[in-house]
């Protein structure tokens, strides 16, 4: 069974969903539609996929400092990922979760896990335990 333990960056309890493994860095602003969760950057390899409800694996973040607002709006619109797994925690992005928490919205957890492990979760259903354990399979 495929399993990894990630560091919890922002706590929010257990989570689960289909994995969406990004294979290139993403800019949330201009890269993700805040109202639907669709990846809209035509230069991104996962363009056309939707991050809503997914366990989103992010190898790197790039681009505008508006990412936090996009993530806040995704949470508000109910289109946030079920969990966000990052190689490097990006404070600009994750601030969107902290602000959502200040507005008393339910937020997904954010975890740190080395990107070399992401491929093993590709196309899997992933469960995330309260201690940051990622398990593939239903």
């Amino acid at each position: 069974m495929k399993q990894e333990t990630a560091d919890i960056v922002i706590e929010s309890g257990p989570a689960e969903g289909e994995a969406l493994v990004l294979t290139a860095p993403i800019s949330f602003w201009g890269g993700v539609d805040p109202k639907t969760g669709a990846i809209i950057d035509v230069r991104h390899p996962q363009c056309g996929k939707n991050i809503a409800g997914k366990v989103l694996f992010v190898p790197a973040t790039i681009g505008s400092s508006t990412a936090s607002t996009i993530l806040l709006e995704l949470v508000y619109a109910g289109k946030a990922p079920a969990a966000i797994v990052l190689d490097q925690p990006d404070a600009i992005l994750l601030l969107g979760l902290l602000a959502a928490r200040e507005l008393d919205l339910a937020i997904p957890p954010a975890l740190r896990l080395g990107k070399e492990t992401y491929a093993e979760f590709s196309d899997e259903y992933v469960r995330i335990g309260a201690g940051g354990e990622l398990t593939a399979g239903r």
């Binding site: 960056v9 922002i10 860095p25 800019s27 602003w29 201009g30 890269g31 805040p34 109202k35 809209i40 950057d41 035509v42 230069r43 790197a60 973040t61 790039i62 681009g63 505008s64 400092s65 508006t66 990412a67 936090s68 607002t69 996009i70 806040l72 709006e73 949470v75 508000y76 619109a77 925690p89 404070a91 600009i92 992005l93 994750l94 601030l95 969107g96 902290l98 602000a99 959502a100 200040e102 507005l103």
Partner: protein, 417 residues
């Protein structure tokens, strides 16, 4: 990692007002960033007032309702509406009302109504070495690189939170040891003809951003001193294609008297030798369409145009009428000059739409029209327009953009391989 707050900070954070909410966000961001304390800041540039959905308005209004005010001079980046009335936004009624409420909330927090992504050309110029909290990636990179003030790439919620707290996490580019170049971006092999061309800076910026990622580089091989508009174009392109917060140019920018100075006393070992082929490749990737038979619009002004850039635009236009719309984005600091010297009226007669307070990639201004082609000379517009407007992008120089807008079809004359 635990953040060590002062007694005063701890008391504020434990409250239930807007100041408490702001300080908690700065504290929690500091924790995410690995900072152990907060430091005082002298100014802020706030990128949080663009409407992307109701949550941003609700967030700002919660701060206002909690009695929060900015503690340091704070300029505002663009909003989603052109409050000057120069241009029209195609927002649905609900979004327009929420966008307007959001802009008002940021003014109620005490921010200045600058509404520009080029605050450094609107009089907001912190001194070298001062700590500030700026948002908007192009403003951040200009502030660090060209002014030598110190800021991280603040997200558009952390910037207002820091401005209210008057504090920022002690982290990253606030610390001198993190401002050192770790690679050389050597452009010395490129032709002087290319380096002197207008598109050199945005194209090199795009390339620099893609090779830099999060790293800091020093550009070597620049002999002619670039003007501020060229540095602005370079930084904006670099901060769109990569997570660039600071660059150095040997002999030009304030922390890079030499390559060695920028490298913290030694020449970085890692050297990227930029070739003409890499330049051609970067130029090609700025466009998402290759040989369109027509263009539907031209957009310039990301970052916002300066008065000098408007002069160039008017010179190239030379009184000729446009056949497709040309959107020229700028701030009030320039608009007031354009109104005083008659440039606004003359340009509008020729078919130019001036866009103030906002720009074409943050709010719907371009008519929705599947399959449309936008031409631009901005590396940043080229990067963001396809996702944010649905238009395909054709990249070219200002002269090419203007000639194409007159002809209604692409007129490309420069540097094609």
């Amino acid at each position: 990692m635990a953040v060590d707050l002062s007694d005063e900070e701890r008391i504020i954070a434990a409250g239930d007002d807007g100041a408490a909410m702001a300080l908690r966000l700065v504290r929690d961001a500091a924790g995410l960033l690995g900072a152990t304390r907060l430091i005082p800041i002298k100014s802020a540039h706030i990128d949080g007032a663009v409407y992307h959905g109701d949550s941003g308005t609700i967030f700002a209004e919660k701060l206002v309702a909690g009695g929060a005010r900015v503690a340091v001079p704070s300029t505002l980046n663009v909003g989603a509406l052109d409050l000057t009335g120069c241009s029209r936004q195609l927002l649905p009624e609900h979004d327009r009302a929420m966008a307007k409420r959001m802009m008002r909330a940021y003014l109620d927090l005490g921010c200045s109504p600058t509404w520009t992504c080029a605050p450094y050309q609107a009089g907001h110029r912190p001194e070298k070495g001062t700590d500030v909290a700026w948002g908007e990636s192009n403003a951040v990179v200009f502030c660090n690189s060209v002014l030598g003030a110190r800021t991280n790439r603040y997200g558009d919620l952390l910037d207002i939170a820091s401005a209210i707290a008057g504090k920022a996490p002690d982290f990253g580019l606030h610390r001198p040891e993190n401002r050192v170049a770790t690679f050389v971006f050597d452009v010395g092999q490129l032709s002087s003809e290319f380096l002197a061309s207008e598109t050199a800076w945005p194209i090199l910026g795009n390339l620099f951003g893609r090779v830099a990622g999060h790293d800091i580089g020093v550009i070597d091989g620049i002999s002619a001193k670039p003007d501020e508009d060229q540095l602005k174009a370079f930084g904006a392109a670099a901060a769109s294609s990569g997570a660039v917060g600071l660059f150095h140019i040997a002999g030009i920018t304030p922390e890079a008297a030499t390559v060695e100075t920028a490298g913290g006393g030694q020449r970085p070992e890692h050297v990227i030798q930029v070739t003409q082929q890499m330049v051609s490749e970067a130029r090609r990737t700025l466009s998402t369409t290759e040989n369109p038979d027509r263009i539907d619009a031209v957009a310039v002004g990301s970052p916002h145009l300066s008065a000098e850039e408007f002069q160039r635009l008017e010179q190239i236009l030379n009184g000729r009428q446009l056949n497709v719309p040309l959107y020229a984005c700028t701030g009030r600091h320039v608009l007031s000059k354009l109104e005083a010297n008659g440039v606004r009226a003359r340009l509008e007669t020729l078919g130019v739409t001036i866009v103030a307070d906002t720009c074409i990639v943050v709010t719907p201004i371009l008519p929705e029209n599947p399959g449309s082609v936008l031409m631009t000379n901005s590396g940043k517009f080229a990067h963001y327009a396809p996702g944010n407007t649905g238009y395909a992008v054709l990249y070219g120089s200002l002269a090419e953009c203007v000639e194409s807008a007159i002809a209604g079809r692409p007129v490309l004359t420069e540097g094609r391989v």
